[in-house]
């Protein structure tokens, strides 16, 4: 699970289907989908968004959505 990753951890997305349709579409636009390797860059305090990096670009997503993305640690 994404929720268990800390800043600096790397993972590979294995299931993104539980995330809301709109967020899924937008992540897909950014090239982030199942099979993408992501690295958690930083986690905002008080349940704030997290910043992830994939293929050299940084993207911010909310914690709520992040925990719905299934990630395999690598």
């Amino acid at each position: 699970m994404f929720g268990s990753l800390k800043a600096g951890d790397k993972g590979k997305i294995i299931d993104i289907s539980h995330v809301g349709h709109l967020v899924q579409r937008r992540l897909l636009d950014l090239g982030i989908t199942e099979g993408s390797e992501v690295c958690v860059k930083c986690v905002m305090p008080f349940g704030g968004p997290i910043m992830i990096e994939s293929c050299g670009q940084c993207v911010g997503i909310r914690r709520r959505e992040a925990v719905q993305i299934e990630v395999e640690r690598i």
């Binding site: 709109l22 579409r25 897909l28 090239g31 860059k41 986690v43 968004p49 993207v59 909310r62």
Partner: protein
């Protein structure tokens, strides 16, 4: 020749636009939808370049992105200039493939090759051109390198649309495309294959368009059948996803062909990010930057410049005008009109040009450097708790400059509810036109802590907006859906040229307004104050203006300013907030701010002055803003609501401040 500039967000479109076009540009409206389009003329006059909002795909999520799709469907264009970010080639090519399916002459500007090289990505442009079948020109849009070559290629007459289909979507999809194409061919000038694929992808704009020329039910049947087939044969999740994956396959093979990777070093951007979006210091850094921005604008830099300009206007300029008027033997009426009306009215507003430009400069700096997106990220948690979205912070920041572009910037917010909420609340952000009013009043009453008092007003605007967001989102604008995914572009060192250009773009409106709106308004206000029921050149207290002001003045008695002067200036303030200053300058008969400040002390107590400023901050969006709200929401109801709630909030808060302050013993 009309050329459309299109590309992903943050690929350097604006830089390229500025480099390819001269200083001249105009802003028009798209047919049908009233959304601004920026059109520039090429430096060597080969045609017009149309700047489109950045999109990842032609299948839109937000209204901003919808502009691009409806442009493709409704407007004619001769050539497409697609700008690609070389360091993000895979993602960028998704859009390119869709553009090529549109079958218009296209060419590609391969931007940020320097960034890509630094990351260890080397792209063979000629090979890419060969694979895609369109010219590819490497450019560095920020420095202008390669732009001449790009213009040469654009000007070449022989660019032909590629006829080959780059993506083969598999037997089933291709068959369905043929079926759908047969239904619509001959009824449209657009590529039928493009329409078919976009239709299958679920593009609502294309769907509406296609349904208007063909039988919607039959098309629906083709799509449903195809979806079923794909599910059975390939267990595909959805048709759109299937198409996406097919494109991705093609892109992967293209990239493998044209790009070579080597070792890279860590970009500086990430090092900066580890500080500014740090979980502990991110917020304090943001507040510190805001503080610096305000101090520079209002104290350290802006005030001396404004004072200098003021001295120039009230000294040499006024004297010059008087000399000329005397020399040409102007009548007393003309003399009074020019000196007491125009110089006082327009000059009183122009004095604030330096401060406003400094503020716009900083906003441009925040936008250009890539920090704005980080602010949205840092602020999201707070915004989410009041039912908004971190992205709403960007329109609000822009709103500090001017509410009109701020409200328009809300288009990038994907969900309609959050967008509406942002539009309604952006006018509470204290725009630069309200600044002259504060500057005048803090100068007169709070000279010791100017920046602090002004800052308190800005903060008050934000706090009120957040509280109202919470109230609105849990009552009249309830909804569960919220979308927050934000791309954080790498930091870029802003270039002076583009900074100046965007500062000027934003600030020129203020100067233009002073020359037109405020100019005419000043004449009108002066006439109202010069004429009265008893004829011309009456005592100001017996003028028409005083009569109008007196009629509504009692409303404002409980909040501390029951003079007819205050009421009259509030009315003009609806036309433009800075008109409050011109009106006061005219009413109080003084040609410059310094003496006006002295006079104000006779009419206001410090407490009433603060109450007045709070009222100005909130009371009603100006006319231009109201018009923009109407354009953006296309709802009379919400437009009226935005005016009414603002007035109510302003009145209640001023009442609390004034009466509360009196109870506490302030005067």
């Amino acid at each position: 020749m009309e050329i459309a500039l299109i590309g992903n967000p943050n690929t350097g479109k604006t830089s390229l636009f500025n480099n390819l076009t001269g200083s001249y540009e105009y802003v028009g409206n798209w047919s049908g939808v009233t959304v601004e389009k920026k059109v520039g003329v090429f430096k060597n006059n080969i045609g017009h370049l149309i700047d489109l909002p950045g999109v990842y795909t032609l299948n839109p999520l937000s209204k901003d992105e919808g502009v691009v799709t409806s442009f493709f469907l409704n407007e004619s264009v001769d050539r497409l200039l697609n700008i690609l970010d070389a360091s993000q080639l895979e993602r960028n090519l998704h859009l390119t493939l869709q553009l090529l399916e549109f079958e218009k002459p296209a060419l590609i500007g391969l931007n940020m090759i320097d960034v890509a090289n630094k990351r260890g990505i080397h792209i063979d442009a000629s090979k890419l051109s060969e694979v895609l079948g369109v010219p590819v020109v490497p450019v560095v849009a920020r420095s202008g390198k390669g732009c001449d070559k790009l213009v040469d290629v654009i000007a070449t007459k022989s660019i032909q649309p590629t006829k080959k289909n780059l993506v083969y979507y598999g037997k089933e999809v291709e068959e369905a495309i043929t079926l759908l194409t047969a239904k619509i061919s001959g009824k449209t000038n657009h590529s039928a294959r493009f329409l078919a694929i976009q239709y299958f992808e679920g593009n609502d704009y294309v769907k509406d368009y296609v349904n208007s020329i063909a039988d919607a039910e039959k098309l629906e049947a083709i799509t449903a059948n195809l979806e079923l087939q794909l599910q059975k044969l390939y267990e595909s999740k959805s048709l759109a996803n299937f198409i996406y994956l097919k494109r991705k396959e093609v892109i992967e093979s293209i990239v493998a062909d044209v790009a070579r990777k080597s070792n890279s070093d860590i970009p500086l951007s990430e090092k900066i990010d580890s500080i500014v979006t740090n979980r502990y210091v991110g917020m304090p850094i943001f507040l510190l930057l805001m503080y610096l921005m305000f101090m520079l604008t209002f104290d350290w830099l802006g005030t001396p410049l404004s004072d200098g300009l003021d001295a120039l206007l009230t000294g040499p300029v006024t004297v010059g005008f008087e000399k000329v008027l005397t020399a040409i033997n102007a009548s007393e009426f003309i003399h009074a009109l020019i000196i007491n009306g125009l110089v006082a009215g327009v000059g009183g507003v122009l004095v604030f040009v330096p401060q406003i430009f400094i503020l716009f400069f900083f906003i441009s700096l925040l936008e250009d450097s890539g920090y704005m997106a980080r602010v949205a990220l840092v602020m999201d948690r707070i915004m989410e708790s009041v039912g908004l979205n971190g992205k709403a912070f960007i329109p609000m920041m822009i709103g500090f400059g001017c509410n009109v572009p701020g409200i328009m910037a809300a288009r990038t917010i994907e969900t309609p509810r959050e967008r509406l909420l942002t539009i309604l609340l952006t006018p509470l952000m204290s725009c630069s036109a309200r600044l002259p009013v504060y500057a005048l009043f803090v100068g007169a009453f709070f000279a010791g802590n100017k920046a602090f008092v002004v800052l308190s007003l800005y903060v008050l605007g934000i706090v009120v907006a957040l509280i109202l967001a919470k109230i609105f989102s849990s009552t009249i604008l309830k909804s569960e859906t919220s979308l927050f995914v934000i791309e954080l572009p790498p930091y870029r060192l802003p270039q002076f040229q583009s900074l100046w250009r965007s500062t000027w773009d934003k600030g020129k409106g203020f100067v233009r307004k002073a020359g037109t709106f405020i100019f005419a308004g000043s004449v009108f206000i002066w006439l109202l104050s010069y004429a009265g029921p008893n004829g011309l050149n009456v005592d100001m207290d017996h003028s028409y203006l005083a009569a109008i002001g007196n009629a509504i003045a009692p409303i404002f008695a409980p909040i501390g300013f029951s003079t007819w002067q205050a009421s009259a200036s509030l009315i003009t303030g609806f036309l433009a907030k800075e008109a409050i200053i011109s009106t006061m300058n005219i009413i109080y008969f003084v040609p410059n701010d310094a003496s006006l400040q002295g006079l104000l002390a006779d009419y206001y107590t410090p407490l009433a002055a603060y109450s007045f400023m709070v009222f100005i901050l909130l009371y009603i969006p100006c006319l231009a803003t109201v018009a923009t709200i109407y354009k953006e929401t296309t709802s009379k109801k919400w437009t009226a609501f935005s005016m009414i709630y603002a007035f109510a909030i302003a009145y209640v808060l001023s009442l609390i401040i004034y009466q509360g302050g009196r109870l506490l013993g302030f005067v």
